[in-house]
Every structure is written in C-alpha cells, then in structure tokens.
C-alpha cells in the first residue's frame, strides 16, 4: 500500500477548474517528482494534499482519506508542506522558526539533536541562528523552510519548487542537502520542480501534469529517455 495515493483529484479556484483528474502515488520512503508547464496544476496538487485548497476525488494517506481535512490536521498526521516561495515566518528568528516546526513534538532532547543536525546540514543557518528569518537571503530562507518542515518529523515532505528564484549554485546546495536528508532520514518526498535536472537528482519516479491532468508516470530513467519529455523539461 502506498503512503499517499491521489486518484482523480479535482480542484477549483472559484469557478475555474484547475485540476481535472490528477492521480499520483507515493510509496513509503519513496520520492516522486511532479513535472509540468506553468499552470498545469502542480502547486494546486500539493495544496489539495495539505488541505489549503478544496479538492474532489480521492486523497488517501496511510490508509485513510485526508481530503477535506484542515491544514493543521493534515500536518499533524505527518505531512509537511514547504509552500512555493518563502515558507518561513519572517518576524521570528531562525531558532524560533525551527521550534515552530517542532511545535507538535514533546521530545525536547531529540528536538535539540534535530536542530543540531540541520545546522550541520545548513551551516549558513547556524551563523544566522538568532537573526529574523526576513533578514536571510533567498537561499537561506529556503534552507530554513525545508529545515522547519523537517523539524515536524514528517513521514512525507512536500516541496514546492525549492529552487525557485535561487542562483544555480544555491539551488544546487539546497538540493544536495535535500538528497542527504532523504538518504539519512528515509522520509518520503513529493517534489514539484520546474528544473527537471534538479528534480531528477532526488526522485525515483515522475508524474507529468498537463492542464490539470496526470498524463504520464514513469521512473526517472524512463522519462529521461523519453524524447518529448527531454525536449519539454530537460532543455535538450
């Protein structure tokens, strides 16, 4: 049984239907990428999962439907969503952001260890530990957003374009750290990414969205060999 299973998920923004039938499956500990052009419904798919947009169809997590649950309820079940753009709390310090991530946990000693682990993973954050998140650079904010999500000890991490707006070398650093996080923690991941080359460094399988529908699913290797995919998303 997969950890997360979306079947024919639909979603509307007002009268406009954004998702017309998205089906995605994330196995326990697996990593799945979502590729697609602008407006294909990638971000909306993630929002449907985390409960930040109303959705139809079936969304089953860990054997139970989570469709229609409030975002805080979904989060408490072990799904951590790093939204598009800044996923940080600007007026709070780096430390406080991480503590907010751990808000539902009571294991103090383990929390301190996890913070230490993340600060090793992202040394920039250690330097800015007492600064407000709003004072960080774009790359540092993304590192903090990922770290904050990790602090909730999720079983599934949902990442919406972690490379958005970052310089290529910074995006590389963020991705390297995410790869390490995945290897060392075994968390399942669902990653939306415009930059398919970056996405392929993390994911095992990929689902392609077109105008609100999932049109193709395959392993990373299969899709790299697909001419159409290569032309559309890999710049070759």
């Amino acid at each position: 049984m997969p950890l997360l299973e979306l079947t024919d998920v639909t979603a509307f923004y007002g009268p406009v239907q954004v998702l017309e039938g998205v089906s995605i499956s994330v196995p326990e500990g697996g990593a799945v990428g979502i590729l697609g052009a602008n407006g294909a419904g990638k971000t909306t798919t993630l929002r449907a999962i985390s409960g930040t947009v109303r959705a139809g169809g079936s969304i089953v997590y860990d054997g139970a439907s989570i469709r229609g649950l409030k975002p805080e309820k979904v989060a408490s079940l072990g799904i951590a969503h790093v939204p598009e753009g800044r996923g940080t709390l600007g007026e709070l310090t780096v430390r406080e952001n991480l503590m907010v991530g751990a808000y539902r946990r009571g294991d103090r000693r383990q929390i301190a260890q996890d913070i230490d682990y993340l600060l090793d993973l992202f040394p920039n954050l250690r330097e800015r530990y007492r600064s407000n998140a709003s004072a960080l650079s774009g790359g540092e904010q993304q590192m903090l957003a990922v770290s904050r999500a990790f602090m909730s000890k999720p079983r599934l991490l949902i990442l919406d374009e972690p490379s958005l707006g970052l310089a290529p070398s910074t995006a590389r650093t963020v991705y390297d750290a995410i790869v390490r996080l995945r290897k060392e923690s075994g968390i399942a991941m669902l990653v939306v990414e415009q930059n398919a080359n970056l996405a392929f460094t993390i994911v095992d399988t990929v689902t392609v969205l077109e105008t609100g529908r999932s049109v193709l699913t395959g392993t990373a290797e299969e899709l790299k060999g697909n001419d159409e995919i290569r032309r559309a998303y890999l710049g070759g």
Partner: protein, 304 residues
C-alpha cells in the same frame, strides 16, 4: 513645596497615570502579537470587564464580606473577559481573517461603539463607584512627596503584568505559537499549529489583561462607559512609540508619555493644561520620523 519636590511629585503622578495607559497598551500589543491587528475596541472591552467586575463584586460582597467579595469580582471579571475576548475572535474577527486587515480594524472600531452602547444600556451613563480594597484617595508621605496608594498599586500591577507578558512571548511555547500565527497563520498551520485556538487564546488574554486595567481605572475615576476613550489615545501612542511587538517598549513609552505630559503641562507655560494631550502626538511624529519601528520594536525587513 520646593522645586525639587514638585518635580518628583510630577514624575510620580505621571508614572501612575502612565501605568493605566501602559495596561491598555499591553493589551493592544498582545492582540497585535497574536493577530497582527490593532484592536480599537480594547478600551471598550476593558470597560465592559470593569462593569462585570463591579457587578460580580457587588453580588459577592454581601455573601462573603468585602475583601473576598472584591477578589471574587476581579477574578470573575478576568475570566469573563477572557471568554468574551475569545468569543469576539471566534464569531466576529474570524470572519475577516484572510481578508484586508484594514477591514478587520474598522470592524474593531464598530465593536468599540457597540460595547460602549451596550454598557450604557445595561449600566446607564451615570458614574458608578467600583468596590475596592481601599479608597482611591488614600496616600502616604515620604518627606514632601505624597505617594498615592492607588498609584503605587497600579504601577506595581502593571510592571508584574509586563514581566509576565514578556516571559509569555519570549519564553513559552504558547507565546511562540501566538507569534507564529500572528506572523503568518497559513504558514503556521502547515507546521500543525491550531490557528483558530491560538487566535482565540490571544484575544482572550488581551481582554483579560484589559479588564485589569479597567478595574484599576474604575477604582480611581468611577465607572462610566466612555472612561477609556482618552486613555485609548495615549495607549495607541505608547504602542506606536514603544514598538508594536514589544511589551517592555509599550510600558516604557506609556510611562514616558505620561511623565513628559505632566512636566510639559507644568513647566512650559504655553503648553499648560489645554495642550497636554498634544504631547503624545508630537512624540509620535518625532519617533516615526527617526525610528519607524518604534523605540523598542524590531526592524522588519520587507523584501520585494
């Protein structure tokens, strides 16, 4: 009275008045920290809390005696205010969540009018005495300076509340949750924070705090629905000058405004009694020009 003693007396009196502004300012900072809004109804809610305290107190005193009855009245007022604050958030402010914050602020102005009107309807517009442990005029002397017992009580109460609030925001999990929700409720929800509950607690705490201020003022000036209208102006000035996110800043600014106002009214002939109320506004202008985030506020960087 010699010049030195006059000066000290003016400062002491200023600190007492300032304590009241400070209490209201603390409640405003609390709501702002928890919701990002300025609640113009904070003064009105404090007045309502004081009326409730008086009513509960007057009911309890014949049964259990004055000291216990007064205490019951105050405790009941604090609890009732917490519930009212939480309900206001749940059933009124919640409807404006996610919309334009200005709309929500205008709604709080409407709420102020509503509460003031309701208090007048229930308790009339006449001055009503608040039952308290001692009478408002009680004082003792240290040398030339008269220390008002009410002023001292108020001052100490406010300092204690300020310390508690600072500790709540900077040192507790609940405080962190309140600040996270104020910063960005949607983002906070993604970390599993119960946004609705935290907002209700924030409003409830602010109303409870306000009711303490309400009781203290009612003891001094007696109860009347509009008794906090002027204090609200000073409290808002204190909040702006001290920094919207700093309980200590709000208290220091409130005390400073009241002391400066007293000194200016006495020593500067052209200010006198009539121009005293202009003092906080002049201070606001100066602070906003030199240090827009407030004297104690943290600078928030807005990225484009």
């Amino acid at each position: 009275m010699n010049q030195g003693a006059l000066f000290v007396q003016l400062v002491v009196d200023g600190l007492a008045t300032g304590s009241i502004y400070a209490a209201l300012a603390l409640a405003i900072v609390l709501v702002n920290q928890a919701t990002g809004l300025i609640n113009f109804a904070q003064g009105g809610m404090a007045v309502l809390g004081a009326y409730l305290g008086m009513t509960f107190g007057n009911l309890a005193i014949p049964a259990v005696g004055p000291v216990a009855g007064i205490t019951i009245g105050i405790v009941a007022s604090v609890i009732a205010s917490f519930v009212i604050g939480a309900l206001v958030e749940r059933f009124l402010m919640r409807r404006f969540q996610g919309g334009d914050p200005d709309t929500a602020v205008v709604a709080t102005i409407g709420l102020l009018t509503l509460i003031t009107g309701l208090c007048g309807l229930i308790w009339t517009y006449n001055y009503l005495p608040y039952p308290f442990y001692f009478s408002a005029g009680l004082s003792f002397r240290i040398g030339d300076i008269a220390i008002d017992v009410w002023s001292l009580t108020t001052f100490i109460t406010i300092l204690v509340l300020m310390g508690l609030l600072q500790a709540l925001f900077r040192g507790t999990k609940l405080g962190l949750g309140l600040r996270a929700v104020a910063d960005n409720p949607r983002s906070a929800a993604l970390s599993g924070l119960r946004v609705g509950t935290l907002l209700m607690i924030g409003w409830g705490l602010a109303a409870a705090l306000g009711s303490v201020a309400g009781v203290l003022v009612a003891v001094k000036s007696q109860l009347i629905p509009g008794m906090f209208d002027a204090a609200l102006v000073y409290a808002l000035a204190a909040v702006i000058i001290g920094g919207l996110d700093s309980p200590v800043g709000a208290v220091v600014a409130a005390l400073g405004i009241a002391v400066l106002e007293n000194l200016a009214g006495t020593y500067l002939d052209w200010v006198g009694h009539d121009l005293k109320i202009a003092v906080p506004f002049v201070l606001i202008f100066i602070v906003l020009i030199l240090r827009p985030q407030g004297l104690f506020g943290r600078k928030s960087v807005v990225r484009v």
